[in-house]
Symmetry: C2
Subunit: 269 residues, 2 copies
Amino acid sequence: MTEIEWDDHIAVTPTTDGEFTADLTDGWVVGGGVNGGYLLATIGNALSKVAPGKPDPIAVSAYYLSASVPGPATVATRVLRDGGSVATLAADLKQGDDARITVLATCGDLDRLPDDVRTTAKPPIMAPLEECVPNTLAPEDVRKIAPLMERFDMRFDPGCAGWAVGKPSGNGLMQAWFRLKGERDPDPIELLMVCDALPPVTFDLGMFGWAPTLELTVHVRAKPAPGWLRVSHRTRNVAGGMFEEDCEVWDSADRLVAQSRQLARHPRG
Amino acid sequence: MTEIEWDDHIAVTPTTDGEFTADLTDGWVVGGGVNGGYLLATIGNALSKVAPGKPDPIAVSAYYLSASVPGPATVATRVLRDGGSVATLAADLKQGDDARITVLATCGDLDRLPDDVRTTAKPPIMAPLEECVPNTLAPEDVRKIAPLMERFDMRFDPGCAGWAVGKPSGNGLMQAWFRLKGERDPDPIELLMVCDALPPVTFDLGMFGWAPTLELTVHVRAKPAPGWLRVSHRTRNVAGGMFEEDCEVWDSADRLVAQSRQLARHPRG
């Protein structure tokens, strides 16, 4: 397991007219599908190569059309507007004739943003790394259907990991430390995956099972500092068969580097 | 001022191949542009007519490309996927050759969602309607550059309206009661506008001026009950020249009917 794994997994090869090919790995399978965050990072990797001088995803909105499968895929990109400091782009991930994900995005250069920080949000209050529950403790049968868990080191805050032992808190909150295997340092494209890497926050409500994403929007607000990330997922509006999942990603320098919200269907369970 | 005004303002006429024409009114002008929420509702009105049996916007993500002006516009729609209970659609608002807004959306039928409500979020704590500060108190010069203020009755919670008298709280919170003029009862398409109708929440941080939206995603979670809406805007991550604005819309039956987040550039001041 080396640093190279992640870059291989999200690799894209340009073909023609803004189109790229990708090979979706079975290493990011979870249950019946391929993790939506990994797919979004693969699309983000393609988008990073489209607008000159604008390699970073700043806002990315993905609508999930059908479940992806491991294997070849294409990412077709279009430039909707490129002017000033940001570009607005579109992308479609397909496998054969099947549309999997459609995306709108604003890309720019995070290094060129002003350096003001007036953030009032506070980092998640969670137990130190060494007191958290590593994902490697998951039962063998869970790890078998979720090979994505071999891709990263995820340490769950015990204060909101009761669901793992049949005692969900009912608060709708999940928090974890996160780092790709091989201790690869995070970057903006990786953050697109991190926002969808934890189990559905509905686990903490005792609603287990897959929660298919309808829509996921990620805002990448700064380049993450090297080291561990802290990730929180929260839901406050479970109704009508759906829930929102709000994610924050904090870096080792206590900067809120990404915020996301997704709308998902909750497990019928 | 009658109920008919709003419906006239967002009216769209189908032409061919999923395209609609609209006439953007100068009644929704604010400062140098046309209110982004009104524009989104106009697009939402077109989208409501595209997928049979799926008239309601459930998730709508808009990327703002250039500032719209009052006058004729076209809304070109495409069906990306229509199957099961929801359809995924795309839309582009243009004026002449100028792309103004590009949108992805999931539409469905809110009446057909399951009736579970396990929402843990609480309605905003705000002063009763009669103790709030009506937008009609705004100075004449403000109302002159913001004719949109004539379109609705907006009553600001005095606890977070200090910005109006030069005393912003610094908390990054704004709350108001909202109702269209003519006491038109709210509906899902109107909610797309309501999520962007209040002044930028950065006013409460003492940062005045226009805050151009890069991206706005609205989740409409239920049909609103008749009567007044309560709207809250909050920001927690002002950094890098940008801020997120989280909006909640609660109806008269204490249901959280819409949640939105936008990423905007903050005023240079």
